[in-house]
């Protein structure tokens, strides 16, 4: 099974992100692998180990990705990694998906990978669009975020959350799957794995210039969530305050 995993880096904490002169300032941020992408890498490795002859290829296309991110994927167990470089920073999910789709076509040709795994969303911009866009561009089927995956020969049994509960799906490869929290427990990497990862191939893949972005980031401002909290001395007083301020308006008197 040919498995490709698309990963990116995000600031380890949103509190390190600042807005200076109307632009995002990330200089205080420390970068980590997007937590959702860890589930994708872990799942890829679990599948590879179950199906002999499989290969896991990690691709990173975010400008900050660079070596650290891909080295981490290699340390977790990916077989090879590609740092997908673009001439200018990617500006929206469309450009990111476009560059990844091109990279996958270059690497796999018309055959495409059997499975493309992505995190549900990246925790910086939280668009949750790249996986579905990538699938659309490659003409592959996208399952949406899955919280359980069981491989049964040619078929995968998947679970995904919807408004009404959990949907149980049976799907045939090839597929693009995005990973939800709880799918697995991503492994920790130690010195030994990091040293071994250095011996694995990490190559640079130059992307062509993507089409213009479909949305542009026009301005940013920091949000202050601080409110003036009104404290109640007793639970009874709290209930009275909430009632007086109309917070129970819509509830009927009969319970």
């Amino acid at each position: 099974m040919n498995i490709a995993v698309c990963i990116c880096q995000v600031p380890d904490s949103a509190s390190a992100v600042a807005v200076i002169d109307g632009a995002l300032d990330m200089t205080r941020a420390a970068w980590v692998m997007n937590p959702y992408d860890e589930f994708a890498v872990e799942e890829a490795i679990l599948l590879r180990d179950r199906f002999p002859g499989s290969t896991v290829t990690a691709l990173g296309a975010s400008p900050e990705s660079g070596k650290d991110l891909l080295q981490k994927a290699l340390a977790m167990g990916a077989d090879r990694a590609f740092d997908v470089r673009s001439f200018s920073p990617l500006q929206d999910p469309f450009q990111t998906a476009w560059v990844l789709a091109e990279a996958l076509r270059n690497l796999y040709g018309e055959a495409l990978p059997d499975l493309v795994l992505c995190g549900r969303e990246s925790l910086d911009f939280q668009n949750a669009s790249v996986p579905a866009m990538l699938a659309g561009m490659l003409g592959m089927v996208f399952t949406g975020p899955v919280s359980a995956l069981r491989a049964e020969g040619e078929h995968l049994e998947l679970e995904r959350e919807t408004e009404g509960g959990t949907e149980l799906l049976v799907a045939r490869l090839p597929l693009v799957i995005s990973t939800e929290k709880g799918l697995n427990t991503p492994r920790k990497t130690g010195i030994r794995q990091v040293m071994e990862a250095r011996k694995k191939p990490l190559e640079i893949l130059q992307a062509s210039q993507p089409p213009p972005p479909k949305v542009s980031l026009e301005s940013v401002e920091t949000v202050s969530k601080k409110k003036r909290c009104r404290f109640a001395a007793t639970p009874e007083e709290l209930a009275g305050m909430l009632h007086a301020d109309g917070h129970f308006r819509h509830i009927s008197g009969e319970d």
Partner: protein
């Protein structure tokens, strides 16, 4: 002039309530010369479209085979309809299906995808939305001639009413469009009893401070009384006290209730990330310095074991007197 297309999601043979809301919000924002179309696929109960008020034409795709078309088929049919009709703005509810479909269509057409806008696009020409876990508000400007807007619960309630009704026409796919594009076999749909907290108007949520799984019964009682749902912090989910589907925050759900009651939750940034669109926040915590009080509108310092039963009784009392 805008030509809106609203994707109407079927649910049990009817039009999903959230889709009808999107339809009516679009009707509300029409200027003269604007047009509206709807699209719905699959078999519907008779009269299913009667919930839709206002002008326009609903295109109903009834292809006979599989009752529920795959995402890929929906994507092709919608893209074809947009091109044929010349639609400029596609509106969809931000349901699980909508979130899969919208980016797929955006990549196919291509179109500008606007999701999670806090401002009512297109009243404002930009989409303002939270990024970086709710710490930054960003304004995005669409660059394509076609826009796709995913609307969640963060939008105002609709009050639209009209005597007009849309007309319904059959949608004819071009021959060949429905090639074998459905390798996704839907085996079973296990509908669990868990209500969807991302749609809840009132949420009573518990954190590590609840102490154990059993005490969530107190939250359920209060939530039932208020007609709300129970949510949880990641710590409570990690402890196994609640299912992941109830987790609120950066790696859980984003919620937009009118009233959010946080019980034994410290107020970590990752938790608050899911609360950017919550209107009023009430905090119950034994630590007067808990960060949750910085973002709360109302607070009470105390032990949940003592506060919650008394609060529930007091709420029941004020509701009775109403």
């Amino acid at each position: 002039m805008a030509y809106y297309l609203v994707f109407l999601e079927p649910r049990n043979g009817l039009v999903a309530g959230v889709s009808a809301d999107v339809w009516h919000r679009v009707q509300e924002q029409l200027f003269s010369g604007d047009r509206v179309a709807g699209f719905v696929a699959g078999s519907l109960s008779s009269g299913a479209l009667d919930v839709l008020q206002g002008s326009g034409t609903v295109h109903h795709a009834l292809s006979g085979r599989p009752a529920v078309p795959s995402d890929m088929e929906l994507c092709r049919m919608l893209s074809e309809l947009v091109r044929k009709e010349g639609c400029t703005d596609i509106f969809m509810a931000a349901t699980a299906a909508g979130r899969r479909l919208a980016p797929a269509i955006a990549a196919t057409l291509p179109a500008s995808l606007l999701a999670g806008c806090t401002s009512a696009y297109p009243d404002e020409k930009v989409c303002r939305r939270y990024i970086h876990s709710g710490s930054v508000l960003a304004a995005y400007r669409p660059q394509s001639a076609i826009r796709i807007v995913l609307q969640g619960r963060e939008h105002r309630r609709v009050t639209f009413s009209s005597l007009e009704r849309p007309r319904c026409v059959a949608f004819q796919e071009s021959p060949g469009i429905l090639r074998d594009a459905a390798p996704l076999i839907r085996a079973i749909i296990a509908t669990s009893s868990s209500e969807d907290i991302s749609e809840a108007g009132i949420i009573v949520a518990g954190g590590r401070g609840m102490g154990d799984a059993g005490r969530f019964a107190m939250l359920e009682e209060l939530a039932n009384l208020l007609g709300g749902s129970v949510g949880a912090s990641r710590s409570a989910v990690d402890e196994g006290w609640r299912p992941h589907s109830q987790q609120i925050g950066q790696t859980g759900k984003s919620v937009a209730p009118e009233l959010y009651i946080a019980c034994g939750i410290s107020g970590a940034v990752q938790h608050l990330a899911g609360l950017a669109s919550a209107r009023t926040i009430v905090a119950i915590n034994s630590d007067p310095y808990a960060p949750v009080f910085d973002v709360a509108d109302y607070g009470i310092v105390g032990d949940v074991r003592e506060v919650l039963p008394r609060l529930t009784d007091a709420v029941r009392d004020v509701l009775r007197k109403k």
